[in-house]
């Protein structure tokens, strides 16, 4: 029978409740977001001016590496798993996740993985310094000793992701309320279902590639060592076979979030629901056959370059369909602009800009000039920050009243939005220019030619960082108190999660709802 949560720390340690686990994922991700953000600010502080002022090159490389790893595996991925934990059961009318004990485990191994990864900063020789893409042989023969801990941490993160993905698939396929057919599921559930399959397909590939590194480092194999008959380019093929689907793992659930929020505040159903589902599936499929566009300069044969160029250009089509659908959803709606909507609109605009630069990067001859410059840094930050981070932020504002039972302060939410929006663009837009002007990425010092753009980027980065402190304050304040939220929360909200009271009771849908 329904009962409340246990008391004390063991509530969190032993919990199998999807809401508790969802909250822990979200808080963990929030903590990692600040840690990764701190690393980013060290980078931006050093790059404020030409010359070496604050850190040494080797430590700078540790910062770029740790920033990437912590943000990708620690902030973005766990945040989406947290949202899935909270929302998927409530959206499909299920009482909990299908595999609650595994759910507990998949969360609780994460803090250990990241504690281990962070501890490498204090080891002799320092943390991993070979970039988040850890290309061999820089990450094998030439790596600091801490690389072994990095490999172990990646294995644990991968295990956590795989378990989370299995759980989400099992929940969605088996626990939908009567009448909730697949094509009636909210788009967030659909995008997560597809994301979960991507995770199961590629996390083992990542585990494989780091295991091959481990063998090369400690067991005398030569997978990636040319001197022993191995192949450094093989590393890149295997890594990007994981890495490209990985970027969609970080963006597909964001599509789902935005597809929930825009119809709510446009007070109009999502345009082209079924085409959205098919577009998501197409993007997921294409993500498996485009990986070598990250490697246009490694010297593939002409035919290989052409195949990967054409395949990559195709991604623009389903992605375009999504953007057009969101815009058409807004068209002739009755729009209001609460904080979640502001973040979602910014998502559509800025993610599209990131998509445009992605299309430019797909043109292989032009990529020879863009590759490994700040233009690429601008591109993937435009996709990931307003893409993944803004959608997560939008989701938090959108569902926080449901989670906590209290409304957040709208004025403060809007202030947070504008600070983040301005900070983001001031940080990352100039990177297009410094990149086109020829500044390579991952360098701690640079020619004065790029000094102006770098100074602007650094100022923007600190503004963006400050905006997130405001976000933390708003979230805590809302959880503590505030205006009570209704069950519907938003005037235009639709879906099962809005039929339960706010805050959502510890156990929801113990009896399945009827979906018509």
């Amino acid at each position: 029978m329904a009962h409340g949560p246990a008391k004390g720390f063991t509530r969190w340690l032993y919990t199998t409740n999807h809401k508790d686990i969802g909250s822990m994922y979200l808080w963990f991700s929030f903590a990692m977001f600040f840690l990764g953000g701190f690393f980013a600010l060290v980078i931006r502080a050093e790059l404020f001016q030409p010359g070496l002022q604050i850190v040494e090159p080797n430590f700078f490389n540790q910062m770029t590496t740790m920033h990437g790893l912590v943000m990708v595996f620690g902030a973005v991925m766990p945040a989406f798993v947290g949202l899935a934990n909270w929302m998927v059961p409530m959206m499909i009318g299920a009482p909990d996740m299908a595999l609650p004990r595994m759910n507990n485990w998949s969360f609780w191994i994460l803090p250990f993985a990241f504690a281990m990864l962070a501890s490498t900063l204090f080891m002799e020789g320092g943390a991993p310094n070979f970039g988040w893409t850890f290309y061999a042989p820089l990450s094998t023969t030439y790596a600091p000793a801490s690389v072994t801990f990095f490999i172990f941490a990646v294995h644990i993160m991968g295990a956590s992701s795989i378990m989370g993905a299995i759980n989400i698939i099992a929940t969605i396929l088996n626990m939908r309320a009567p009448g909730m057919t697949l094509m009636k599921m909210p788009l967030f559930v659909w995008t997560w279902l597809i994301t979960a399959y991507l995770l199961i397909a590629v996390m083992p590939v990542l585990a494989g590639v780091v295991t091959m590194m481990l063998m090369d480092i400690h067991f005398g194999t030569s997978f990636f060592d040319a001197a022993g008959g191995g192949d450094p380019v093989l590393f890149q093929h295997v890594f990007w076979f994981f890495g490209h689907p990985e970027v969609y793992i970080m963006i597909l659930p964001a599509f789902g979030v935005v597809s929930a929020i825009i119809p709510t505040f446009a007070r109009k159903p999502l345009f082209g629901y079924s085409s959205m589902v098919y577009a998501t599936a197409s993007i997921a499929f294409l993500s498996f056959i485009v990986w070598a566009h990250h490697m246009f300069t490694v010297g593939m044969p002409l035919f290989g370059e052409l195949v990967f160029m054409y395949a990559t250009m195709l991604i623009a089509i389903p992605t375009g369909v999504k953007v057009f659908n969101w815009v058409t959803t807004m068209f002739k709606g009755s729009m209001t602009f609460e904080t979640p909507m502001l973040f979602s609109i910014a998502f559509v605009i800025l993610f599209t800009i990131g998509g445009f630069s992605g299309l430019m990067l797909a043109i292989a001859p032009a990529d020879f000039q863009y590759h490994d410059t700040y233009f690429v840094v601008a591109h993937f930050h435009y996709v990931l920050v307003p893409g993944a981070i803004f959608s997560i932020t939008a989701a938090v504002y959108y569902w926080l009243p449901k989670w906590s039972g209290n409304m957040y302060d709208e004025t403060m939410g809007k202030a947070h939005f504008w600070l983040a929006f301005i900070g983001l663009n001031v940080t990352f837009f100039p990177m297009h220019f410094s990149g086109l002007a020829g500044m390579p990425r991952r360098i701690p010092d640079y020619n004065p030619l790029w000094a102006d753009w770098n100074m602007i980027s650094s100022v923007g980065a600190f503004l963006f960082g400050a905006a997130q402190l405001l976000f933390l304050f708003i979230v805590i304040r809302t959880i503590i108190g505030g205006k009570k939220a209704t069950a519907e929360v938003w005037e235009g909200s639709h879906g099962l999660e809005w039929t339960v009271p706010s805050p959502a009771p510890y156990h929801t849908f113990s009896t399945p709802p009827e979906v018509k």
Partner: protein
């Protein structure tokens, strides 16, 4: 078409300037990709501009519709929501139109790529090898090869000991020369980790990968100096391994090759001389700072756990033969390179003498250039 896009970028530039406070460095505010100096780099630039303009136009249309709805269809203006949510016709239209645009884009991209891949019939081959953190250039069949390091001038400016020059971090001790009007093929490889040889003005970026020899080419019509950098993270000093490429008339190029060959002969002669301890020590310090200090640090302390110390090290104070072996042959599987091919016997002798006597090592050993020559012969 190009002028329009420059104007629109100019507008963005104006917005950025209006938006932000005055800046300390009066740089050049370069906004766009370089057009470069070769037919390949110009084709690449045109591709870049065409795709950029396509993106800007699509952006204006899509965001235009969006901003219009955000203005016209807001609840505060009394907008009532319509209820349409499907249109197969629309979905087909916005699938087909992008597809057609992409196909139109694929044609010029393919032909440019084919041009870039046509490395046949080169007049000159240069083998480029990436090392941590320098480039080696070998003129195949010309008996000329040398290493190119970050210049001492830039090195002095890193920690703001001297004001930064316009070519800060983009200048080298030995530039790589090519003759104008000749098709030059670059064969690119690496000795340790992956590097990437990139000179924007000729639109050549090729990864330098151990075990691979990648090919690219250029043909520069007018004399000029073009700079670039390593474009693939290759460890600590990735940001400090620039490229300076000079295109010169054929006659000047031939004279330069002859001069390089003469210098090699002079070095062989110099190896026979005897030097005093002071001469060796002073020369050795110079070599140490430019070649060793990047890893082992100016004070010989290294970086714990990454690069070993020279000060008080068992190698630098122990058996001379094993010390020479480390310097000249390198240590397999570590960042320690074989310096035999980077340093001449005088430099090797000097830096060994320096290491065995500096940083409190005080072994009193003096190593002459002839010792280096003999050591290499005995191996």
């Amino acid at each position: 078409m190009l002028s329009i896009s420059r104007r629109s970028l100019g507008l963005l530039f104006a917005v950025a300037v209006a938006f932000l406070p005055a800046l300390v460095y009066a740089g050049e505010w370069q906004l766009n990709m370089t057009e470069g100096v070769t037919s390949v780099s110009q084709s690449v630039f045109r591709l870049h501009m065409v795709i950029l303009i396509i993106c800007v136009v699509i952006g204006i249309v899509v965001f235009g519709v969006m901003f219009y709805s955000m203005y016209a269809h807001r609840k505060s203006r009394g907008a009532k929501a319509a209820n349409f949510h499907e249109s197969t016709t629309l979905e087909i239209i916005w699938t087909v139109i992008p597809f057609v645009i992409l196909i139109a884009m694929a044609f010029p991209a393919t032909s440019t790529l084919k041009k870039i891949y046509d490395t046949d019939n080169a007049d000159l081959d240069i083998l480029i090898t990436g090392y941590q953190w320098k480039w080696k250039y070998e003129y195949l069949g010309e008996d000329v090869s040398f290493f190119s390091n970050l210049s001492e001038k830039s090195r002095q400016q890193i920690y703001s000991k001297a004001p930064k020059s316009a070519d800060y971090l983009l200048d080298v001790d030995e530039p790589v020369l090519i003759p104008v009007g000749k098709k030059v093929r670059f064969l690119v490889t690496a000795a340790d980790v992956i590097h990437s040889w990139w000179v924007p003005d000729i639109a050549v970026k090729r990864d330098a990968i151990p075990g691979y020899v990648n090919e690219s080419w250029t043909l520069v019509e007018e004399p000029g100096t073009f700079v670039g950098q390593c474009a693939e993270l290759c460890g600590k000093d990735h940001g400090f391994m620039p490229i300076v490429l000079k295109a010169v008339p054929q006659a000047e190029f031939d004279a330069w090759l002859a001069e390089k060959r003469a210098a090699a002969t002079a070095i062989a002669e110099a190896a026979k001389q005897q030097l005093s301890f002071e001469e060796l020590y002073a020369k050795g310090e110079e070599v140490y700072i430019s070649r060793c200090a990047a890893c082992h640090q100016d004070n010989g302390q290294g970086i714990p756990g990454v690069f070993p110390a020279i000060a008080g090290s068992a190698v630098a104070t122990g058996d001379l033969a094993s010390h020479l072996s480390v310097i000249l042959n390198g240590v397999n599987g570590t960042a320690m390179q074989a310096f035999a091919e980077q340093l001449n016997p005088v430099e090797s002798a000097a830096v060994t003498t320096f290491q065995r006597n500096a940083f409190g090592n005080n072994t009193g050993d003096i190593i002459q250039p002839i010792d280096i020559v003999n050591f290499q012969q005995d191996q």
